[in-house]
């Protein structure tokens, strides 16, 4: 089976994101970039298939600026087999999906696993849009994939449990979590990844326009700072509990 994981490079989740001087972008100088967390889960899920069946090929691709190459290198170091980069500084979400659709048509994967949303714009658009452009079925927010006769079983997390869907191949799923936490690159993995070629093409070379329906950012600001409030400490547990319950009812009016 061939599995393709489209990924996006985003500021690492530990970065304290700051708004830049222009008031409509973030400070990117000196920050750490990583694979978006849900894309890491998608990679882990694909690699778990490969652990179970070593004939599985796991390919990664990204559409983004040249720095995204580092994210692909990281995916190779985790154990992915192939990587390719489509460069563009900024592209509308639908243009990204179009570029990925082209890659899918060329690479002919059986299964495409996308992170359910990127942790920068938190949109969750590209996965379903890619399935739409390909005319493939998709299942959203899965936590498990199992190979079965005639396709795959995709376990979708819902309130109170999982829905299990069977999809014929090729199919696409967006990933919420993998069974295990995403693996760290191993030292041999890092060495091997260094030697691998990462072919690069410009989006324009695919004949795809970067434009499409999208938004214009007007402004960005940090969320309002919440000051620490009161610390309740007078009395024993029962007395403090009663003070708190009364405060929530009469002062905060949330009971």
């Amino acid at each position: 089976m061939k599995i393709l994981v489209p990924l996006k490079q985003v500021p690492d989740s530990t970065v304290r994101v700051k708004v830049a001087a222009d008031g409509k972008s973030i400070v990117t100088e000196g920050i750490t970039w990583s694979i978006s967390p849900y894309d890491e889960y998608a990679i882990e899920m694909a690699l778990e298939r490969k652990d179970a069946d070593p004939t599985t090929i796991v390919a990664v691709v990204t559409v983004g600026p040249a720095r995204s190459r580092d994210a692909l290198r990281q995916a190779l170091a985790m154990g992915c087999d192939e990587a390719s980069l489509i460069t563009v500084d900024t592209a509308a979400p639908l243009a990204v999906a179009r570029a990925l659709a082209r890659v899918v048509e060329e690479a002919k994967p059986d299964l495409v696993l996308c992170g359910k949303q990127a942790s920068d714009d938190d949109q969750g658009f590209v996965g379903p849009a890619l399935a739409e452009l390909l005319g493939w079925p998709h299942v959203a927010t899965i936590t498990k994939v199992i190979t079965v006769d005639g396709g795959v079983e995709l376990w979708r997390e819902i309130e109170g449990g999982h829905e299990v869907w069977k999809a014929p191949l090729p199919a696409l799923a967006t990933v919420h979590k993998s069974d295990k936490e995403p693996r760290y690159p191993s030292l041999p993995g890092i060495m091997k990844a260094k030697k691998k070629e990462i072919p690069e093409r410009a989006l324009s070379a695919l004949g795809i326009e970067p434009s499409g329906p999208t938004w214009t950012v007007l402004s960005m600001e940090p969320p309002p700072v919440r000051g620490g409030g009161k610390i309740l400490k007078d009395g024993d547990a029962k007395q403090i509990a009663e003070q708190l319950a009364t405060a929530l009812r009469d002062e905060a009016k949330v009971l």
Partner: protein, 293 residues
């Protein structure tokens, strides 16, 4: 402005977010509310039915709840009909032939204002546009899901042990979350009893879901759910930046932790430096009493 609201139901009741969207759409102009009738949500049949409706009615705006299904349906619909799309917005104002939206980004670490040209598809975070006064139940038109578009086969429902009795986490007005300070899944009755006394939902920190103490669906934070309840109670949660991203917009935050230096106290409106095993049972009793009187 002409708005098409996509309704969602939990059991037999319309979800609260549907009422919130209908009220917001009434502020903007004409409203039609549709519900796609099908045994369960599945992308292709739902998108096909909804796209037909959008193409015939030509609303300026399609509004969905930013729920598990609403976000998925909205994204694929936007791709099908070639419209601009914004997910999980928390504010929405008309601006000429466009909308000005409040759009949280970077897992809540940034609040952006964006301009989105019409026609558009937008999903709105539950609870972000609270109802003023009583909820007016909108008239809902039912359309049939297009079963002929289906390529998937439903196999089964695998329920988690926790069941679905409680209100849904992302729509709950009160959320009580437990962290590693609870020491093990066997102590979760403390969290549940408090949640029941408050009429709220149960959440968890990532450490807890990663350890398998609680199911993933209960995780609050960057790789879990973002919640905006009136009251958020954090029990034995230290307050990692990824957790704070998922709950910092709650109206009132209560934190109980025995470490006085825990980061959660920096954002809590009410902090209690105490052992959860001692404090929580006392607090559950106090809540019952306060609500009864």
């Amino acid at each position: 402005m002409k708005t098409l609201v996509v309704a969602e139901r939990k059991g037999t009741e319309l979800r609260r977010v549907t009422l919130e969207l209908a009220a917001k759409a009434r502020e903007l102009g004409d409203v039609a509310v549709v519900e796609i009738a099908g045994e369960r949500y599945t992308p292709l049949p739902f998108v096909s039915a909804l796209a037909k409706k959008v193409e015939s009615e030509k609303p300026d705006l399609v509004l969905l709840g930013a729920t598990l299904n609403g976000r998925d349906l909205g994204a694929r619909l936007a791709a099908r009909v070639g419209r601009a799309y914004a997910a999980d917005v928390t504010g929405l104002r008309p601006a000429g032939n466009a909308l000005e939206l409040d759009k949280p980004m970077y897992a809540g670490k940034v609040r952006a204002k964006v301009r989105l040209d019409l026609p558009a598809v937008v999903s709105v975070r539950p609870g972000a546009m609270p109802l003023q006064g009583g909820a007016e139940t909108p008239q809902v038109e039912k359309i049939e899901a297009d079963g002929s578009a289906e390529k998937l086969t439903f196999v089964k429902l695998a329920a988690t042990a926790t069941g679905t009795k409680r209100v849904s986490l992302s729509e709950a007005r009160v959320v009580v979350s437990g962290g590693r300070g609870l020491k093990g899944p066997e102590n979760w009755h403390l969290v549940e009893e408090l949640a029941d006394a408050l009429g709220g939902a149960v959440g968890a920190s990532r450490a807890v879901t990663d350890a398998g103490w609680r199911p993933n669906e209960e995780q609050v934070g960057q790789t879990g759910k973002t919640v905006t309840p009136d009251l958020y109670v954090a029990l034995g949660i230290s307050g990692a930046i990824q957790h704070l991203a998922g709950m910092t917009s709650s109206k009132v935050i209560v934190a109980v932790n025995k470490d006085p230096d825990a980061d959660i106290f920096k954002i809590a409106d009410y902090g209690i430096v105490a052992d959860v095993f001692e404090f929580v049972p006392a607090f559950t009793e106090a809540v019952k009493k306060a609500r009864a009187s």
